[in-house]
Homo-oligomer: 370 residues x 2
């Protein structure tokens, strides 16, 4: 690795001359942010201003790879994100399609502690897909949610998470709920002989996220869930690198949709749900599955799968966790796309089973060949 990291952008442009002009505008915008004619010569013009390393047609657009000096961001992950896409995120027809690491970026992004292999160890699932469900909805009492958690565990789910809408509401306060759900999952495990783990949702300020992460660890949860687009990318990166915190981190896509759903702006699905998550140190990433109530295509989901495991400066591959409108009937179709290295997140479809929840989980488990 060198001391320059690279960002590939897909750029809408009329022709190659236009594309090169737009790429040059990005190289300036993301670094010096001043007109070309007032860029100081020497070090700034040669090292700080982004360098167009490659430019080529890509379908109806162009792809430009631009390299940036590690000197642009110091030791600051937030500032690295700023260099990657800061002001250019506000221009139309520019989408980040790849990020290549440098020494400096690798030094501040220690990456996932667990990743796919580590999560298999934690859950004891040596082979085949992992299974996750969620306690919900908001408005249920602690005891109702805990009962649900115990049934998920009894039915053989590997992870039970809070719904991402559960925080610290008065009908199920955070501490009481986490304690009750950990205990309930333990009871379910005792009945099933399984090793299901409970995964609480963490939100709020950076300090509250950290406090709750440590409190949850103390209470015996097996992992935690965060929404990086809500709580902040660096809050997640810090948690993943926190010496006092030792559990896997699961990422939820809430509030981040605008970053991916317009194909000509934001980030490619693989970059946002794969690369960026690994840079933050996330171990598993939840995203909307194809064919559900969200609009992701099979191709976009495959991009996430690829980016979750592609070489990235030695960072561990992470677990993809498609969810959203998944049903038992769709398992064969999903297995064809995802194979074994996947975590299925199924919530609503299982809850339809009511008191037969544990049985529904067993059917799901059988359907995925476990």
């Amino acid at each position: 690795m060198t001391d320059r990291f690279t960002v590939r952008y897909r750029i809408a442009a009329a022709d190659e001359v236009d594309a090169r002009a737009r790429a040059r505008a990005i190289a300036l915008e993301q670094t010096v942010e001043i007109p070309e004619e007032v860029v100081p010569p020497g070090f700034i013009a040669e090292e700080i201003v982004g360098r167009i390393e490659a430019l080529q047609p890509a379908g109806s657009a162009f792809e430009a790879t631009i390299s940036y000096s590690d000197d642009c961001f110091g030791d600051d992950f937030v500032q690295a994100l700023n260099v990657i896409f800061g002001n250019s995120s506000i221009k139309e027809g520019i989408r980040v399609t790849r990020i290549g690491l440098s020494q400096g970026l690798a030094a501040i992004c220690r990456g996932p502690r667990y990743g796919l292999a580590g999560l298999r160890d934690v859950t004891g699932v040596a082979a085949g897909p992992l299974l996750m469900s969620a306690t919900k909805p908001v408005g249920l009492s602690t005891s109702q949610l805990a009962l649900m958690a115990s049934r998920f565990a009894e039915g053989g789910m590997d992870l039970v998470k809070d719904d991402h809408g559960l925080v610290d509401q008065r009908f199920a306060p955070w501490t009481e709920r986490v304690r009750a759900c950990v205990e309930a999952v333990g009871e379910g495990n005792a009945r099933s002989g399984g090793r299901c783990i409970f995964v609480p949702n963490l939100t709020g300020s950076a300090n509250r996220v950290r406090e709750r992460a440590l409190a949850a660890q103390e209470m015996g949860v097996g992992a935690v869930m965060v929404g990086p687009s809500l709580i902040g990318y660096d809050v997640v990166r810090e948690l993943a690198a926190d010496p006092d915190f030792r559990l896997p981190i699961i990422s939820h896509p809430t509030f981040g949709g605008a970053n991916v759903i317009t194909p000509t702006t934001g980030f490619a699905h693989g970059v946002f749900f794969g690369t960026l998550q690994r840079l933050m140190g996330v171990d598993a990433v939840v995203y909307p599955n194809f064919g559900g109530r969200f609009g992701f295509s099979v191709g976009e989901c495959r991009e996430i799968v690829d980016a979750s495991a592609a070489p990235l400066g030695g960072l561990k591959p992470i677990v993809v966790a498609p969810g959203g409108g998944m049903t038992l009937e769709r398992v064969p179709e999903m297995r064809a796309v995802y194979g074994d290295d996947v975590m299925y997140l199924m919530g609503g479809a299982l809850l339809k089973a009511g008191d037969g929840l544990a049985d529904a989980c067993r059917r799901l488990r059988a359907a995925v060949g476990r």
Copy 2:
């Protein structure tokens, strides 16, 4: 105010029946996130699930106003954002076009401490537009940046901010740079008789942002700048409510572009650059001006102006700070749109004056009638 807050969504739909179905899907997605048929009756169905308060055609789409119970988010601003647009941000053809406060949301959003009137007091500009510029580019030394800051002050600018690319780079370390720029602005003021303030850029982790905010305050800066889309919305809200911190906060749009630039997704310009900033407690908001190198229209900029001052649960109006590709020649056109209650951010165009920087600032000041 009641204990339900409202969110208005613009929804792409074939007809009113389709629009109502999509609105109902949002009301479920943002609260219980389970299929309609398994929503528990009683409190959850009646209070927790979002209520469609209004639905009407709006051009080629529909607008639905949905109310949510304060019980959905507890005391958690991040969770309130989750309820406003969490998972629905990942669905196509849904855009947030208005947010109406409730008692609970108002209680956790104390709003701007200064706003427009407060920033006029701080800068001593009783009438007419405020003027802000930026020291740049990244790569200059501390002394070069400080010299630039002194000239801006000498020329009569009211605020001089760090470029948002300046953090803690080795050629201009944060503490050294802030101290030098505060001093340089003071020297410029001594020559001009003005009251220009220096505004450092804060990035990094939540704790670093707070530490630097307090350190900068100690060093005599007049305000601070943050990029909420980068550092996290709640990091900004906490800083604005921090009892140890007492300065105005200026918001920079970096990294947030995807939230606004596709007209059918994300947030309306007024909501993102007006309402949300006021909820966070920002005092002035930088955004790309119309007609510059970014693509905002005059209408979108007017939306921001309106939302920066519209009634919002008693929160103070804030200062709009258009920037990006602004020139002296465009001042009359900008005055026609913005009038007097505006802060013009002009950087690159002034820097083209080189050693004549202070004179260029004086010409700008005269052009805006100050």
